[in-house]
């Protein structure tokens, strides 16, 4: 055999055992994302979260600050007890598989129990997504990731003006809006939120806080999020929360130019 023909053969030799089969092996696949079992994203004193995958030999690592877990992140051994606001992210790892995509959920301490005199919405939610109405936004109940679960109020291309009258005015320094982002379902987070407060129902209202929200990009994953607005400590009986909708679906979206949906399920006063 000519020497020049022999060299490529030598190079191919180690490859031959790989060519003998056509079945898939683990390293071709990612693990599934870990499951999270919990008693609700809003907690009073603490929240207990169980993580699982149901695949032998896989371990779960997690973070509480919203960062992507890697091989050096905390190892999940027993149910997590969460004592303060946390953005839990968990991923599964296994030596024979690609690491999973993260599963994530935000846990938030409940707000104060509000003594609601009346709650109203400037514009009614869409007929098919009424949620629990204006009062449902301050009832301490949060929806699931499924926007059809009856907890979510859906608005198509409309701003939300939420008016709240309280029987007694407890001090509040932070307002959280729980909203959904699911671009694939045409649901976008709000563009901006303003908080107004007043001493009298018909009197002078003062804007005491606002927040702008960065628009999600094409790669954004679907999920629930809390948007925080810090305000100076305020004990007002009358409140108005103005939530500006996203606007028209962006250029990269399959429904570009059509109005985005806005879904909210809870407003928290802390």
């Amino acid at each position: 055999m000519n020497k020049n023909h022999f060299i490529p053969l030598l190079v191919l030799l180690p490859v031959l055992p790989l060519c003998a089969q056509h079945y898939a092996e683990g390293r071709e696949f990612r693990l599934g994302a870990p499951q999270m079992e919990h008693g609700g994203q809003l907690f009073q004193d603490s929240a207990v979260v169980r993580l699982s995958l149901g695949w032998e030999g896989a371990v779960i690592r997690y973070t509480l600050d919203g960062s992507l877990p890697d091989e050096k992140s905390a190892l999940y051994r027993e149910p997590l007890v969460i004592w303060q606001d946390a953005r839990l992210q968990a991923r599964a790892f296994h030596p024979s598989f690609q690491p999973s995509e993260p599963s994530g959920l935000e846990f938030v301490r409940r707000g104060q129990k509000l003594k609601v005199a009346s709650a109203a919405l400037g514009q009614a939610p869409a007929q098919q997504y009424p949620g629990r109405g204006a009062n449902g936004l301050v009832d301490g109940r949060k929806g699931s990731a499924d926007f059809r679960d009856g907890e979510w109020l859906g608005f198509n291309g409309a701003d939300v003006v939420f008016q709240l009258a309280l029987e007694d005015a407890a001090e509040t320094s932070e307002i959280l809006i729980s909203a959904l982002s699911d671009p694939g379902s045409w649901i976008f987070p709000p563009a901006a939120i303003e908080v107004w407060a007043g001493a009298k129902e018909e009197g002078h209202f003062l804007k005491i806080g606002e927040a702008g929200i960065a628009p999600p990009g094409p790669e954004a994953l679907a999920g629930m999020a809390f948007f925080r607005i810090d305000i100076p400590p305020t004990a007002a009986p009358y409140w108005e929360i103005r939530i500006r909708h996203f606007g028209l679906l962006p250029e990269w979206h399959q429904g570009k130019g059509a109005p985005a949906w806005l879904f909210i399920d809870e407003i928290i006063f802390r």
């Binding site: 190079v11 191919l12 180690p14 490859v15 055992p17 790989l18 060519c19 003998a20 089969q21 056509h22 079945y23 898939a24 092996e25 683990g26 071709e28 696949f29 990612r30 693990l31 599934g32 994302a33 499951q35 699982s52 995958l53 149901g54 695949w55 032998e56 896989a58 024979s96 598989f97 999973s100 990731a145 499924d146 699911d182 694939g184 379902s185 679907a222």
Partner: protein, 348 residues
């Protein structure tokens, strides 16, 4: 040697050998361990390349459903109107294609009638069910059921699946429409209608799949999936609810009875419907889950409740149907998976 396998592994290793000989040698000698999925008695090795064709000539969009005919051939239904039906042998070799008039091709059921194979195609876009011979000649069309009094327009009726009883009666599940189950005789005359939307277990949310459960000799019943409810519901042939099988976490598409087991593709294990998850669910003779290929180990709690199932390894992406051959190998058709061809699972 499989040529596709060489292209996949061989070419990559060869490129590596040229660029970085040491690294390539290490990669090449890493022991190969085939992945086995499933649990207990029903475990499988995976052939991701089964049935792959040249997409320029034999394209697919969604691969919706598959059946095996009495010659042992495997038939795939896709909503690509270049070739709605693709016929393979069990090794994945292409035998023939036909069908250009089924833009909403969704449900595929095979029925042996007087010694001849017939197919029932549920078409989402045409709002009707078409019965054909095994080579695609139209034998009967069941149009939208105006005579039922439940529908005002054709587009309210979006049939997803059919089942054929031993006496030739045809059941159609309107899984994307008004959720009724329509019961016809073999000539296509409407005999009964049940289900529909509503509060209560006799109603449906996404009555996506239906089949005859013939495991109990002499007393066939209907198994119908309520996909959004993660439930499999058993009905009598005259439309009375008999039993509920809870499959939390499993958005099951259609039941397939083979031997004394029931096989179901679970499209996803969490919402939204395009979450990129999914697995196969196999129920034993007692309708308890015995194996979840691609999913978490099935476990029941002390009260006998199934712990919610979920995807554990990402072998599947939106599996939509499972076909079982006589060797109990599985063929899995997938929806919205990037126009991929079916996956074969070989029982070990």
């Amino acid at each position: 040697m499989e040529r596709r396998a060489f292209i996949k592994y061989g070419a990559a290793a060869l490129a590596g050998a040229i660029l970085a000989p040491a690294a390539a040698a290490r990669a090449a000698w890493q022991p190969f361990r085939e992945l086995i999925i499933g649990h207990n008695s029903h475990r499988y090795r995976i052939d991701m390349n089964w049935g792959a064709l040249n997409a320029q000539f034999y394209p697919v969009n969604d691969c919706h459903e598959m059946v095996q005919d009495s010659k042992g051939r495997i038939l795939l239904l896709t909503n690509h109107t270049r070739n709605n039906v693709i016929v393979y042998d069990k090794s994945g070799r292409l035998l023939e294609v036909w069908g250009t008039e089924y833009p909403g091709a969704h449900g595929l059921t095979l029925s042996r009638e007087n010694g001849e194979d017939f197919l029932y195609i549920s078409d989402n876009s045409r709002h009707e069910v078409i019965k054909t011979t095994i080579d695609g000649r139209v034998a009967l069309i069941l149009p939208w059921p105006a005579e039922s009094g439940k529908y005002e327009r054709a587009d309210q009726y979006i049939p997803t699946e059919t089942a054929v009883a031993p006496n030739g009666d045809i059941y159609v599940a309107d899984g994307y429409g008004l959720q009724y189950i329509l019961h016809y005789n073999a000539r296509g005359e409407l005999l009964n209608i049940f289900g529909g939307r509503g509060e209560g277990e006799q109603f449906f949310d996404n009555a996506h799949g239906i089949c005859l459960d013939t495991r109990s000799p002499g007393s066939p019943t209907l198994l119908i999936t309520a996909r959004m409810q993660n439930k499999l519901k058993r009905f009598s042939l005259d439309g009375k609810l008999l039993e509920l099988i809870h499959l939390p976490g499993a958005y099951i598409c259609r039941p397939v009875v083979h031997g004394d087991h029931v096989y179901l593709a679970a499209l996803v294990s969490r919402l939204p419907m395009d979450s990129g998850t999914g697995f196969i669910t196999i129920l034993g003779p007692d309708n308890k889950v015995v194996s979840v290929p691609g999913g978490s180990r099935p476990e029941y709690d002390a009260g006998g409740k199934l712990i919610p199932l979920h995807q554990a390894v990402k072998v599947f992406r939106h599996p939509h149907d499972v076909c079982v051959d006589e060797d109990e190998n599985l063929y899995v058709a997938q929806w919205n998976s990037g126009k991929t061809y079916p996956v074969k699972l070989e029982r070990v």
